[in-house]
Structure formats: structure tokens, C-alpha cells
Homo-oligomer: 346 residues x 2
């Protein structure tokens, strides 16, 4: 896919896309010439537009309407034309203030992030909660609720708290529990959950553990407590923003999208994609590979804690999104969250 567009063609494509983003109406040649820095006649613009249509960057809904960008058009715009600016520093401060006032709980902060993303972008905010396995073990505590029922409370380095009820076969004395707790906290702190789990498995395989009943129990209990059944959860805020978009005025289409949101699995999959990428990622339309979301675009970025990536966050909206303003918002939010997770809870 060669990039062989003349400067002028790019300018015009840019203008069309930006006009369409602003108005949601097909853009005609006349509108373009009147608007801005394009000093050409409508006829010349038409020639270029026809060319851009041949190349697949534009389509016209019908002969007597203007042109609208295709996915390929958006993609080219995002990849090649768009120069993202930094965010206004006053706005940065305003956002940061939002979080500073908040409490310290990580999930609350992530929820706030999703809400803020939605409210300043005017689209729908998404935040993926960190997967257990990618986080760092910090502390575990067992609370005996009844002879057979133990509550495991597990805290990650970044401050995520996870509760888990574990049913056990044998009645454990408070003393035993305490020993187990101490042992685990001493040996496992600082490891990633991934590592903790492999370690548990290897240690259990060694004979020594098999003979030490207490150890065996410790491992059984902790491995039960650390099973990551969350499977990725997403905080979605501002679903109602979707109802504001003219492209989703079709109720049926709208319904499918909202249902997809409710199931979350598609969103988890999409946010997962951004986990290993650095910087902001843009997924446009059918790139989502979910038919229900084929008219939606996502702008995502990964956020990280002390050690490595924790999750991703972003904004979802129609293809026709003001990428130029939202990309910096997502970018800034991700780095802000990372910073806050880094400094908190030492």
C-alpha cells in the first residue's frame, strides 16, 4: 500500500475528513472551497476527489451527494496526515485535579478515569481492570469465616484488592493460618502472580512439600486464592453518549452495540490488543473484527504501574471521531494513571 498521494491530495483528504467529522454530512466540493485554506475551484477539487475515491479513501453514498471517508481513509488520516499535539496544560491540570481529590482505592480511581475519559471526550470511556496474573504480589491475608470457609484477601503492588472465598476440606486452626500467611508473605512478595503460581507448582512438585503438611496446605490455599477468574473486566462509562451520535440513530444497530457493551467480552478482547503496544493505538471499524462494532472506532493506550503494563484504557465511538483531540486525551490519561499508580501506596 504505497503512500503516493500528492501534497494537495492529502490536504484535500484531510479537509474532507475533518469537515465530515464536524458535520456528519457528506462533504461536497463546494463546501470545501468555501471553507478554508483550499484555494482551488470546485472543479479541481472534484477531480482530486474522484481520484481519492478511486484509491478507496472516499465513497459517495449516491451520485448527487458529497463524499464520506472510508475506513481506509480514516486509517490513512490517522497514520500519515494527523500530527497529534500535546494536550493543553491547563486542561491537563484540570483533569489531574479530578483524581487528586479522589480517595486512594485503585478501582475507584479507574472508574473515575473511565468517567473522565467519557466526559471530556464526549464519547464512551473504557478502562480495563488489571489482570491478576500481570500484577505483583504484595500481601495476602486469610480470614476464617467458618470451619470450612476461608476468605482470602489479596493485595497487589499497585493497590488492587481482590477477595476470594475458598472452601477447604480440612479445618485449619488460626495458628496454622497465621503461619501460612507469614510464610506466603515472606516468600512471595515482589513476585508477579504468574511467577507465584509457577513457584507454587514447582515447590509442590518437590518432595519436601509433600511431607510437610502445613506447606502443602499453604500451597493449596494460595493457589486457590490466586486463580484469576476475573477474565478481564471493563469499566464502561457514558454509554448514553452513543445515543447522541447521528450515525447510530438506527435503533437496531444501536441495540446491537449496547448489547455488545453489556457482554464486555468483545471490549476485553479489543483492549487486550493494546496491552503490548506502546503509545496510543487506534482501531477503526472492521479492524475490530466484530461485526456489531464495525461502525465503531477505539482509541486506546496502555497504563502501567511500578513494573510493567497493567491494563489499557481508551475511548470508543463512531468511526467519525475527532481523533486529533481524543488521542491526546487518551494518551495523557494513560500516563497520568500510570503516574498515580506509581506514586501511591508505597
Amino acid at each position: 500500500m504505497a503512500v503516493k498521494l500528492t501534497d494537495r491530495s492529502q490536504k484535500i483528504l484531510e479537509a474532507i475528513i475533518e469537515e465530515y467529522i464536524a458535520t456528519a454530512q457528506p462533504v461536497g466540493s463546494k463546501a470545501l472551497t468555501q471553507n478554508q485554506g483550499i484555494k482551488l475551484s470546485p472543479a479541481s477539487v472534484r477531480n482530486v476527489m474522484a481520484e481519492l475515491e478511486d484509491l478507496g479513501y472516499l465513497v459517495s453514498p449516491h451520485t448527487s451527494a458529497g463524499r464520506i471517508p472510508t475506513e481506509k481513509g480514516y486509517r490513512f488520516y490517522v497514520d500519515t496526515i494527523l500530527r497529534v499535539s500535546e494536550m493543553d496544560s491547563r486542561q491537563q491540570d484540570r483533569i489531574e485535579l479530578q483524581y487528586r481529590q479522589q480517595g486512594l482505592q485503585m478501582t475507584d480511581m479507574l472508574r473515575e478515569a473511565s468517567r473522565t475519559l467519557s466526559s471530556i471526550s464526549h464519547y464512551t470511556g473504557l478502562v480495563m481492570i488489571p489482570r491478576l496474573k500481570t500484577t505483583i504480589f504484595r500481601h495476602i491475608e486469610f480470614v476464617k469465616l467458618s470451619p470450612r470457609l476461608i476468605l482470602a484477601v489479596f493485595v497487589t503492588q499497585s493497590g488492587l484488592v481482590q477477595n476470594k472465598l475458598v472452601e477447604v476440606d480440612e479445618d485449619l486452626s488460626p495458628r496454622e493460618l497465621e503461619k501460612i500467611t507469614n510464610y506466603l508473605n515472606q516468600t512471595m512478595t515482589g513476585l508477579s502472580i504468574q511467577d507465584v503460581r509457577t513457584r507454587i507448582i514447582t515447590e509442590m512438585a518437590q518432595e519436601k512439600a509433600l511431607y510437610d503438611q502445613l506447606m502443602r496446605r499453604a500451597f493449596t490455599l494460595s493457589s486457590a486464592a490466586l486463580v484469576d477468574e476475573s477474565n478481564g473486566d471493563v469499566i464502561i462509562e457514558g454509554t448514553s453518549r452513543f445515543l447522541e451520535q447521528p450515525e447510530f440513530s438506527d435503533l437496531d444497530c444501536m441495540k446491537r452495540i449496547v448489547q455488545t457493551f453489556e457482554q464486555k467480552s468483545a471490549l476485553v478482547e479489543l483492549l487486550d490488543r493494546g496491552l503490548e503496544t506502546k503509545g496510543v493505538q487506534v482501531i477503526i471499524g472492521s479492524e475490530t473484527e466484530h461485526t456489531e462494532l464495525s461502525d465503531c472506532s477505539l482509541i486506546t493506550a496502555a497504563y502501567s504501574g511500578k513494573r510493567g503494563t497493567l491494563g489499557t484504557l481508551g475511548v470508543i465511538g463512531p468511526n467519525r471521531m475527532p481523533y486529533a483531540t481524543i488521542i491526546p486525551i487518551v494518551d495523557y490519561t494513560a500516563s497520568l494513571i500510570s503516574r498515580l499508580l506509581d506514586t501511591d501506596n508505597d
Copy 2:
């Protein structure tokens, strides 16, 4: 508002409402006579309908349309005409099975309840999470995360787990923390959070506490941990169901409703109303006293744990809801949840 409707009028009102619930179309006299057990001519039915309109139970959108029920009509229908049946026992079993397979965590169960309510009613499910203060203290645990930061984990009798980060002024040793934990668990178990809090206040007022530093710290810590900032949270499942209702095909109206859902406060208020009521409560249209919800009805019921009411759950949909089928669903779900909360976690 005297109930002076003849038997025949009631029958006709019932038929109209049920027809309207089924079709979402204004009901005409002809449709009624053809349909069911009404053996009258259209003309007679018209007379009765005019009478019902005078009484305020029906309105017609315009002269040449049929009639639709007013809120007063629904109210009368629900209060006087409707005889709710028990739920099909096979369906009961099917529902119960859903929960049995689930894990033990209370919030998971409540989420499942909301989801199930939505999927079997085909409307939107609501479940209010228990307020802390109405629940019974069972166990508290403190985990020291850093010198100044303590994680309080707090378990209620019904199995609700609450985490709270508390910042403290003074560095507490693990030994002190343990003492505090033991003290609190011994003295407070079995009391309601409400009682625990008043107790803390009175004890702190007594001199003895003032001189015992440890005690003072225990009280400070626990009172910080037990502050109920949750302010009532609602689990909403199946928002997309609203998009299926023809009465909300107006996007603007739809948007307002979804926004109201997102804010949750209105729903909390409405669910709160059902806290002290026994059995199923029906709130119709403007009875919600929220203009955005003036075309919505709620069917709610309280659920309870070992000791007293914990919260409410229910279904929200358009006024035109099949009350006859949903009321038993809500009723059964509430009692099922109560039963499960009673037997679990002893």
C-alpha cells in the same frame, strides 16, 4: 377514589390493558370483541370505553385511534384487577439452578440475580447492594500496606466483603494491629454496623478509652473503616432491553433514560422505597417522581438475610409491562436470594 366499577367495566378494562401490553397499539372496540371472552357488540364496548375514559382510566391519542391505559388505569389494574399467580415450579427450579452453579461471593450472586431478572423478564434488572449500615458485623481484618497506610477488610454476616484503605497518623506495629483486630472481633461480632458505630462513639466518650492509647487507636481505625460511603450501589443489567421497547423509539427520550440509569441516584432512591415494604411493590410512571422516568414502571421487592432486610431488587421497564408475569418473577427472585443469603456462609 372509590372502586365503583361494574364487573363488566372491569373485565373490559382488563382486556384493554392486556391487549395493549401485548401489542403496544391503541386498542379499539372491534379488536376487543373479536378477541376473547367479551360477548358484546362493538357499540356497547364503546359506551363502556367512553365511561372508562371519563373516569380517567383510559385516553385516546386522537379521535380516530383506540384507547390506551393511563397511569391511573395501570394502577387500578395492578391494585384491584390483577390476581398474581405463583410461578411455574419448573421455571423456579430452572432459576434456582442458575445460582447453585455460581460461586459463593455475595456480589457475584447479586449480579447474577440482576442478570437473571433481566433475561427472564425481558426487561432491565436492578439489584441494590446492601447498605453497610444495615448489615451485621462479622469480622474485620487490618493489613498494613505501608507505615501510614492500612487496608481494612470487613466482612458482614451475609458475606459481603468491603475493602477500605485508611490513612493513619501514627505508625502501628503489627502487634498492636493484631490486638486491635482481636478486640474488635470479640466485642463487635453480631452487632449491626449501625450499633457498632454508636458503640464506638459512646465508648470513645468514656474516659477510660481516652487514656488507653491502644483502645483509642482501635476506635479511630474502625470508625474510619466502617464509614459507609457507598451510598447505595445498584447493579443494572440489560439496559439494552429498553431499546427494544417501541415506546422509547424516540432517541431523545431514550437518551435521558439511559443517562438516568448511569447516574444511578434516581434508581437508588426508588429502590430504597421498597426497603420497608413487604412483598412486591409496583411504581408506575410519574409515581417515580423523576420526570425522566415518567414513562417507566418499576416492580420491586426487598430481599433479606439472617436478620432483617438487606436491600431491594426488581425490574424496570415501560409502563406497559406484563405485570402479571413479572410480579411473580420478582417475588420469587427476592425470596430465593433471601434464602441463599440465609443458608450460605454460616
